[in-house]
Point group: C3
Chain length 266, copies 3
């Protein structure tokens, strides 16, 4: 099985599918091809939320603003899984999540790239052939492949830790999903036992302790009326700011990477 | 075979694919994941238009504004098919259409749900595992599954019947597709033998008998010039209001659920 | 293997998948279903860029503004590949590209169509069944099928040739991709050895020799700063006008079919 994820939109991923199927008989499963464009951190987040649910597979994942530069290509083995993509950190949060779930270790290999047929479409010309090659050799034989060399110099990417204190927590927005739900790095159990919390955006100047407004804590969108905001625990286990049938990013005025404060004294 | 349909957008459906493939070796086929968001009636319409074309399969279909409330989960068996999703009616028009096509009966089972891992993503945590379990057991063995209990209390959903009279018909808009084509509940044979009909939107106050404008009846979009409106019979067999290479919903000023009158005296 | 491409958006392609899977056990692979709507030339371009990467397959490709008129249906055999779709030229650039890659010949067959079940959805009612029939018979047995008749009258479509001279080249925009990258018909090697070129849009009246602005030539988007324009060689081998993390069509003020001049004297 080979899974495919990218920010290529359409119809570019079809060429990747063709290249892979021309080289091997792997089952192909799409993850998504509309990951936020050239946004390595959001891509890393969504890969972490989706790839660990799959059975052992080769995961070809390309969010690659550095295409055509000298950034390297990677194969990251995690037990029976392998992740194939650019050396910009995008693969590592998912790799660590798979490792945690399967009790495996994360083993990065640098993947040697020939002068490619194009410098703008490594998804088709580099990563799809690499995924097919790893699939055909078998994940446990990555080190036998001529192009693969173990490396300790791969670019890592880690999501920021929140600062939790007695009154609440300070953190930031990891991603905003397609519906406008604001996914933060605050742990969901922060909300345990609270019916309302105060949320303040910290990057708009006026904010500070005591700033912000209070919002209901609810287990699901449908617990508030349509158009009403809520603070909930998302499917990823983190605090999420949402609006039932609306856009949380607009109501909470928060974007990717912006800092926020949640106070429990509300 | 397991088909997947939802209003989850992207990349959430990937987690459903992973969960299913981790549990069984079923062939996966996407129906669509951009069904109109939290719109049970539109979802039910599109499931009815697509699922009956498939060979016997387990159809996992989630449009679920009540996620996280106490709405139940359902498995609806229809001959060799099974539909898996929330108990909000979304499955029933498709189930009845499959039953009509295959001469089978519609048998709903309530599906017992454990305290779920999340209250916001039952597609991943409830319905995907249920679809995999039904696939593995076999559709004819649903009642042998511990979680399945026959029920007569499932929420049904039926599309409104039009009122056809000698001068024409009164009905409503079932859905608007992504191109702006307005799909009504009026039967396509209403147009037989007519070159032009009068169409009036009834919910804008000014309308009434004799209101509205007349439009050409045409068998296909290309029979009128680009930008011109037409009244046609859509692929679903109903009267459809469209604009060749344009948006019918804008020209006809009609939205989902709004009432309309078609007069044949034009 | 059957690949599927269309401009149907969603969820209409699901009915095509169902029809095919109800008739045969072919592996289904999506190319794309959001090809530019009713734009035969753009569709032909994207099919040419994607289908040749696949191993032998039946390619069902529908961009069909003439649906419901008397335009014919085609099966085009190219060696072990077959392309199935409307007789409007959309299949031919891809067919010639597959022929060039596999040293095969292009053999068009007219496909006889019954009075169809609908006049608006030939993807479901004509082309999906045709693709399944060709798959089941085998591509090398197309002429044995009752519905297939060799034809020399199929509508062809060829992309315009650029005019290359000593100072540069004059050509036109073939497509604009979803990110706004402007794909021209100018050969990529035109840029060899040049660091900057002058680009002028020719259809806005004010342009002419010496008009336009100069832009850097770069091997990949990331070689210029975010928001900055560049002239590059796209994955298709042609000159492409782009903006790193932005939209080239807006910056270069060029749309599909518009003419441009690239001067090398910059």
């Amino acid at each position: 099985m080979i899974t495919l994820a990218s920010d290529f939109g359409t119809p570019y991923p079809a060429a990747m599918r063709g290249v892979i199927l021309d080289r091997c008989d792997a089952r192909l499963v799409d993850v998504a091809h509309d990951l936020p464009r050239q946004d390595v951190r959001s891509g890393a987040f969504w890969l972490r939320e989706t790839l660990p649910w799959f059975p052992p597979a080769v995961h070809c994942a390309v969010v690659d603003p550095g295409v055509g530069t000298d950034r390297a290509a990677l194969v990251v083995r995690v037990g029976e899984h392998a992740l194939v993509g650019p050396d910009n950190g995008v693969l590592f949060p998912a790799a660590r999540a798979i490792a945690a779930r399967t009790d495996a270790t994360v083993e990065p290999f640098r993947w040697r790239v020939d002068d490619p047929a194009s410098s703008t479409f490594h998804g088709r010309d580099v990563f799809a052939p690499a995924a097919a090659a790893v699939h055909e050799a078998g994940v446990d034989a990555v080190e036998d492949l001529d192009r693969a060399t173990p490396t300790e110099a791969a670019v890592d990417l880690r999501f920021p830790d929140p600062a939790v204190d007695e009154e609440g927590a300070t953190g930031e927005v990891l991603v905003v999903d397609g519906f406008g739900n604001v996914v933060t790095n605050l742990p969901g159990d922060l909300l345990d036992g609270h019916d309302r919390v105060r949320v303040a955006a910290l990057d708009d100047g006026a904010a500070g302790t005591g700033a912000g407004r209070t919002y209901p804590v609810a287990p699901a969108y449908a617990h508030v009326d349509a158009g009403e905001p809520l603070v909930t625990v998302g499917s990823h286990g983190n605090v999420e700011l949402a609006v039932n049938r609306g856009r949380g990013d607009e109501t909470f005025a928060l974007a990717v990477g912006e800092r926020l404060r949640v106070d429990l004294d509300a």
